[in-house]
Point group: C2
Chain length 414, copies 2
């Protein structure tokens, strides 16, 4: 499928009769919209000439101070001077890649990895080398081997890109016991770590894991976001970086947008100051835990033999593998016809190398539909699988789609 | 001066006792903040789940339709499908450069040109070749010569970057009689035109010139912005591009930020639908005309012999040249000590080649300070000039700063 075919398919998938298990859209009905409306009113009425004016490329200082408070929940001792506010953390990914990478450079990433990051990495003509995960996250031995193999080919590794908590799309979390080892391997090999942590505060048991950045302030660039803990539409994220890197990111940010929108940062700053934002995160957690439970119990009940999936403790996603011979990308149009959508596994790989397994994988999101709709979606999906398995038993094999590189990221896949 | 020295200097220059003729900040006191406050309230209360959610990478359709109406004022017949909403038009510059340019490619630009564009062009390791202007704007013959000279060196020209109306920093407008010729030269040489038009509706006599895009739909990528006609803090601009280019820009925009903030676009869309936005632009025009008049009459009255300057019919800027032997960059710290700030001419050149004249130039902005403050600022500036001329008469020459490439763009220089 080409980017435009995917776009057309997702246009169909966005119809209300389709249960979309594809998108990564937070469930914003949980937000206190009435009091937010009063906040934005007051911001414009009282501080409109600042909110609507050009601002600092690095971001407003009050918000950068509050971001330090937020990060402390995951053990990070950061300084507001070392923070650059970005237009969503996607922009952080873009700026870091722009600053560090030349065409042909290698970026290490989990296998599979976030489609939006892969799109950005591809746009700078870098090469992504995937590193294996298990249910404890990134495997240290696989990381060592990947570094060694890439260097034997004479290629330059610029950084390890990792989503340690409730990974997108894998739904797994890097075991705390592995974190120091992963950091040590990277430090020893002189490879920077780019830690992307949009879901860290969305652990369903209220657990927070120590950020990689909390264990290594010198070799980690940390990306944070308010998209999942508050709302994505304001596009406010941040990068916390060692001093020299932060300077470069600020210059790159000026070049990209002059400055992030001041109004949006002020909305978040006021929200953090005046609302029970921790309580809101708890509300989100409970909402997503209920949906995770709905998805897992429906999968347990309905999936045909031979399917396997991850059991996330937080975040938005389940990663599902179908039996051999089936191809998730080839099945997507049939699924949409059956009024259920998912993202095929191939979207989450940035290199054409690697296992055939990706054709049997898919990401299922439980963040947006209600529990009932999730159950209905899994039910429809199981019908598609059963029909496919019947075909395979009759004709010997399912359809196989073309091998694809990273598809273009799309907000629906965020 | 390094980027950080400039930053430090502008930190001092932003103190209230300094008259800043440096920044390009619109005068937002003219905005109807109370009714805007009610609008943003209602948007969140009534459509918060859309406004705060991920949106389309291309931008919301209603706004793209309204943008077509806005562009019609300058003769452009565009289609909403060919518009990409951007995070300010700075982001449009960034995306176009990213899509078209490889390191070493040449971009043609007016001499002098917008500092923010030069910063972006430099960040993609392109080479800027400046093309001479006179008081009628870009000179067709100089353009022909530049194309020929660059190609003789075996270099590849990717596009002509031009600000045809009330140019930043030159304050001059490309004569309507020259527009077809400039377009024809570029088309004939297979060079795309990147038209940057933030000030087009700010002509002091209410005049609007036909956009280059209105005369050539196939070879012009047009950048528009609400930063100067409404407010910059929302960071909403747009690119209008031929179909194939628009597809590429959308993909690049997804890679850069996933999507521009939906809320910000909805604010602008509602503002255009429900406010007298043409009346607001008229208010801005009158405000800036009064300030332009204040600056020109103060310059006429106070500048020492040998100084020359442009007489803009719109926009924000006057471009001033001081007598031979003086150096504006070297004078800036002294000017700030005398409580007046400007941007030295060297900031507006992207290539180290070219005339020595740039050291004698500076940009003076009249958009932000009140007429009284503008007169006071020019008065202080004339004191600095007189002192410098005295020194020169006594010791033979003024100080000369190092030749600089483009300085980092800064919101204060927008």
């Amino acid at each position: 499928m080409t980017a435009s075919e995917i776009r057309a398919l997702f246009a169909v998938a966005s119809r209300p009769e389709v249960v979309s298990l594809a998108g990564g859209m937070p469930y914003l009905a949980a937000l206190p919209l009435d009091s937010l409306a009063r906040d934005v009113h007051d911001l414009i009425a009282e501080q409109g000439q600042v909110a609507l004016q050009y601002g600092s490329a690095q971001g407003i200082e009050a918000l950068r101070e509050q971001i330090c408070e937020v990060m402390r929940l995951e053990g990070i001792q950061g300084h507001p001077d070392d923070i650059v506010c970005t237009v969503g953390s996607q922009s952080g990914l873009d700026l870091v890649t722009r600053v560090f990478c030349d065409p042909g450079d290698v970026i290490l990433a989990e296998s599979p990895s976030y489609v939006g990051a892969l799109g950005t990495f591809a746009s700078f003509q870098t090469e992504v080398v995937h590193v294996g995960m298990d249910d404890q996250g990134l495997q240290p031995e696989a990381l060592r081997q990947a570094i060694s193999a890439v260097r034997q080919q004479g290629k330059r590794i610029k950084f390890l890109y990792t989503i340690p908590n409730f990974q997108n799309p894998g739904g797994v979390t890097l075991a705390v016991s592995r974190r120091a080892e992963i950091l040590e391997i990277c430090r020893g090999a002189d490879i920077m770590v780019l830690e992307d942590n949009p879901y860290g505060l969305l652990g369903f048991d209220g657990q927070a894991y120590p950020a990689l950045r909390s264990m290594d302030a010198d070799n980690v660039v940390y990306l944070g976001s308010f998209s999942k803990t508050f709302a994505p539409g304001l596009r406010v994220g941040w990068a916390l970086a060692p001093h020299g890197v932060r300077e470069k990111l600020t210059l790159a940010a000026e070049s990209a947008t002059l400055c992030p929108p001041a109004f949006n940062q002020m909305i978040i700053s006021r929200y953090l100051a005046e609302h029970d934002w921790m309580g809101q995160i708890k509300t989100y957690r409970e909402c997503y835990r209920e949906r995770r439970d709905a998805m897992l119990s429906a999968l347990d009940e309905l999936m045909p033999a031979g399917c396997t999936w991850t059991r996330p403790d937080g975040g938005f996603y389940v990663w599902l593998t179908v039996p051999e011979g089936m191809d998730t990308k080839a099945m997507l149009p049939r699924a949409v016809t059956a009024r259920v959508a998912f993202v095929p596994g191939t979207a989450f790989y940035g290199s054409p190398l690697g296992g055939e397994e990706r054709h049997r994988q898919m990401r299922l999101s439980f963040c947006y539909p209600t529990p009932d709709r999730i159950r209905e979606g899994v039910h429809r999906l199981s019908g598609v699988f059963e029909a496919e398995l019947d075909l395979m038993q009759t004709f010997g094999t399912g359809g196989r789609s073309n091998t694809g590189g990273p598809q273009s990221p799309s907000p629906d896949l965020a």
